[in-house]
Symmetry: C2
Subunit: 278 residues, 2 copies
């Protein structure tokens, strides 16, 4: 079996995390996929240089590296560690040849109830990281996560909040990641997408569908395109009306998909992208 | 054991749903609780008139009836049934002597991806129900639910959306329910509370804390006051600054609490209210 995926389609590695990096690259070749979003852990296990070389050899563009962030610590030592780890993430992105590092801001530190303070610490960290990243031609793409993650994963819950933070910096340094799974419920999001586009800050666009019931922990129940409540073409329309013409990543955290054959999941993901997005 | 709960404290019946209505009423007397928010199902099983009489006899004020709503159906027959059921809910509220019927709008109909359309159908239903309720001295209190419920339970996800709907009607007819669990993550909520207060539309105020990890289905993991990420005094401050001086209900959907002795849970809930809210 071989295919030709749409040119803008990108598979985020987490969608088929059961595949090793060589398997992923060859599955992409088989399905005609030209773009991948990579994750730090598997890339580092395989070797950053080696992964970069493999992608180049197969003509694969690395659309994003997921992910840096977790920048909300109060403890000074923890904070230093987080910044240092994020500089490494920038270096890895540069080595992989992607211009976009996705950032998930982090949740509330243990015992804290101060969302506003946590968001300010994200801003402080961006001020340290953005110039470092810019010197390496890497843009930071702050991702608002669904409000159900506000306490334990990401204090930046809306596109408006993400843009409020990003706009403190030059657009070439800090922008946003727009993921349908996180913002589909928000009636102000279309306006915020226009704001992001006008400012040149749409640095990544990702798709996942919203299906219920949510699993315990609410992490690994993202729906396949077409299985849920989100009109993918509507959101693609907003992003394109805002001037975005870049890659579109499909990023599914889904236990049921991970239990299946990864090549089959990739081929199906391409087919669903054609059916529900293009 | 007996106590005197703070005057504005109200226990929402769901918090101690293991108690029958006579047990609830006598537990309230024992803990010095003067206000209850009731739920339709147990009230109807016991008998609406009988429940009303029991509350009156014990000097208990019924602060809200939970809940009407589920007004998003497209199917005409289903829609007629929903409206009819909501008229019954209004009648029950009037019989119980509460002026406030909490409304949960309902999710997307099966197969639909049209959030905007669903929200408009809520508005259409309010137009039919609000005058009916007003004639019976009952106010409709539209409750925004956390965005994680947008698909399957409530297409009204933010206080701003709830107010956009409510403000199409007189304030004495349609207002909002403010519940910390649903809005705590939203940095625009304090401003929306001010808007609601200025318009005389804060019809109910409820508390629950946000704890993680969320359980499967995300319904029954609401935290006891003080156990989670929400600063209760901060939110009480916003609501009071907006002019609200009414009852404060504690409404916990929590499997662990339901497995315990209901009288003990009520006494503990009062104690935590004193510790974290007053």
């Amino acid at each position: 079996m071989s295919g030709t995926a749409p040119e803008r389609f990108s598979v985020n590695q987490i969608t088929v995390k059961q595949l090793s990096i060589p398997e992923l690259v060859s599955a992409c070749a088989e399905s005609g996929v030209r773009n991948v979003g990579l994750w730090r852990d598997p890339v580092r296990s395989y070797g950053v240089e080696a992964a970069a070389r493999l992608c180049r050899d197969f003509g694969l563009t690395v659309t994003t590296l997921c992910r840096g962030g977790f920048l909300t610590a109060i403890d000074p030592a923890e904070r230093v560690r987080a910044l240092s780890d994020n500089r490494r993430a920038v270096d890895e992105a540069a080595t992989l040849g992607t211009d976009t590092l996705v950032l998930v801001s982090g949740g509330l530190p243990a015992g804290s109830r101060d969302l506003r303070g946590a968001r300010e610490r994200v801003a402080d960290a961006l001020a340290e990281l953005a110039p470092y990243a810019a010197e390496r031609s890497v843009r930071l793409a702050l991702e608002p996560l669904h409000p159900m993650y506000a306490a334990d994963r990401c204090v930046v819950s809306t596109l408006a909040q993400a843009l409020d933070l990003a706009e403190r910096f030059p657009a070439g340094q800090v922008g946003v990641t727009i993921d349908t799974y996180h913002i589909w419920w928000d009636d102000t999001a279309p306006g915020q997408i226009a704001r992001a586009g006008a400012g040149g800050r749409i640095h990544a666009f990702q798709l996942a569908d919203w299906t219920t019931p949510l699993p315990a922990g609410v992490l690994n129940g993202r729906g396949r395109l077409g299985d849920g409540a989100i009109d993918m073409r509507e959101w693609k329309g907003y992003v394109e009306a805002a001037g975005y013409t870049g890659p579109i990543e499909v990023e599914l955290f889904n236990d049921a998909l991970w239990a299946r054959d990864g090549r089959e999941v990739l081929a199906e993901t391409v087919a669903r992208f054609v059916e529900h997005v293009v």
